[in-house]
């Protein structure tokens, strides 16, 4: 260790004012996001009421698949955003890309199944579609705020990616949370209107959040 150099007064000054800090670990960050997501589900229950058909076994297989994929995307993007608060040369943030690619299959599956069955209907003819998308987007707000606050405390160095992943996490987890109140479990409805909040929140996050977390 090199200790022969004259002491730097700025270093002495910083050492003087040192106070203990609690490290921002991945675990504490994920717990923070989980609290936001749980609070969102409670709010959905209070405002909309959760769909009891889920527990009664009335939900279609596609309901589980769509919400499962959205949940995986939400977890992958949230984990990535939390990790970005602690920078590190060599960090890779690939998981959300693959999870997003998996979710992107849903709209294609919806269109393909509609063509196959010969009952092609425009998603715009869905009277509840826009409402579901907007409510799903709104349900992502708490997660977005939680992650943005976490990033502001942290030291993100990939600001655009941090914004995008925060948006994707908020959109996906919000869509899942609101989806627990939605009894419409058809391919077209889930594949379009429940995926739209992810796209919208991702875009909003990409362009709005970097300025909020710059340091």
């Amino acid at each position: 260790m090199t200790m022969t150099r004259a002491p730097n007064p700025m270093i002495e000054s910083m050492a003087e004012e040192l106070v203990p800090v609690r490290p921002m670990t991945l675990r504490s960050g994920l717990l923070w996001v989980a609290l936001a997501a749980a609070a969102t589900i409670v709010l959905v229950e209070l405002v909309e009421g959760l769909w009891h058909g889920i527990l009664a076994g009335q939900a279609s297989a596609l309901f589980w698949i769509a919400n499962g994929l959205l949940l995986v995307l939400g977890l992958a993007a949230a984990t990535s955003a939390v990790m970005m608060s602690g920078p590190r040369v060599g960090n890779r943030h690939e998981a959300p890309k693959w999870a997003l690619a998996a979710v992107a299959v849903l709209p294609f599956a919806a269109l393909a199944s509609a063509f196959d069955s010969g009952t092609m209907q425009s998603p715009l003819s869905d009277p509840y579609g826009l409402e579901c998308a907007l409510h799903g987007l709104a349900a992502g707000l708490l997660t977005a705020v939680a992650l943005t606050l976490w990033l502001r405390r942290g030291a993100p160095v990939s600001l655009n990616a941090a914004g995008l992943h925060t948006g994707l996490a908020a959109g996906a987890l919000g869509s899942v949370a609101y989806g627990l109140s939605c009894p419409l479990d058809g391919a077209m409805h889930l594949g379009t209107w429940h995926v739209l909040p992810v796209v919208a929140a991702g875009l909003i996050g990409r362009f709005a959040i970097p300025a909020l977390v710059r340091w």
Binding site: P7, P9, V21, P23, M24
Partner: protein, 176 residues
């Protein structure tokens, strides 16, 4: 020879717990590491300021290091980030200089307004700190030149800038 990764990680873990002695050693080692890291990428005249900037970032963001992970990749990420930021600032300064040359009257007026606004901030911090910040960060003097002009030692100029900027950052919204 600079301390190795396990030693730095141990020192940082102790620093997060509030160990001032370990923190002093860590910062001294980090300073040496950063000087070497930047040596070929930063002009010698700007090296001290940039290393100081990263050390302050390390101080402010020390909670973001996860003790279960390596220390140097964390420090290197911050060093890169601040380096890019530094380059951006240098570029802006050059742009401003060109604009000053082309439109001297307008920029002079802008400068007066900016100085007025900064003067309002400066009345809230000690005179010596304000003087050090004004000379080095606004007028562009080196630490050495500021030291000669003010009669403060170079180290004291650095300390005054550090403490003054810290106070100013807390005053940005409050000072009127």
């Amino acid at each position: 020879m600079i301390a190795d990764e396990p030693t730095l990680a141990r020192l940082m873990q102790q620093a997060q717990g509030g160990d001032k002695q370990a923190y002093t050693v860590l910062l001294t080692e980090a300073q040496l590491w950063l000087e070497r890291y930047y040596r070929r990428r930063v002009p010698p005249a700007q090296l001290d300021d940039l290393v100081q900037d990263v050390l302050m970032a390390l101080h402010r963001k020390r909670a973001t290091w996860d003790p279960t992970r390596a220390f140097l990749p964390w420090l290197a990420a911050i060093a890169r980030y601040r380096w890019v930021d530094h380059l951006r600032k240098v570029y802006r300064a050059e742009e401003d200089a060109l604009e000053d040359y082309d439109a001297a009257e307008d920029s002079e007026e802008d400068a007066v307004l900016a100085r007025m606004s900064l003067e309002r901030l400066f009345v809230h911090i000690p005179e010596k700190q304000a003087e050090a910040i004004e000379l080095v960060k606004i007028e562009g003097l080196s630490i050495k030149e500021a030291s000669v002009k003010t009669g403060q030692s170079e180290s004291l100029v650095k300390v005054n800038i550090h403490r003054g900027l810290k106070k100013l950052s807390a005053l940005v919204e409050k000072a009127e």
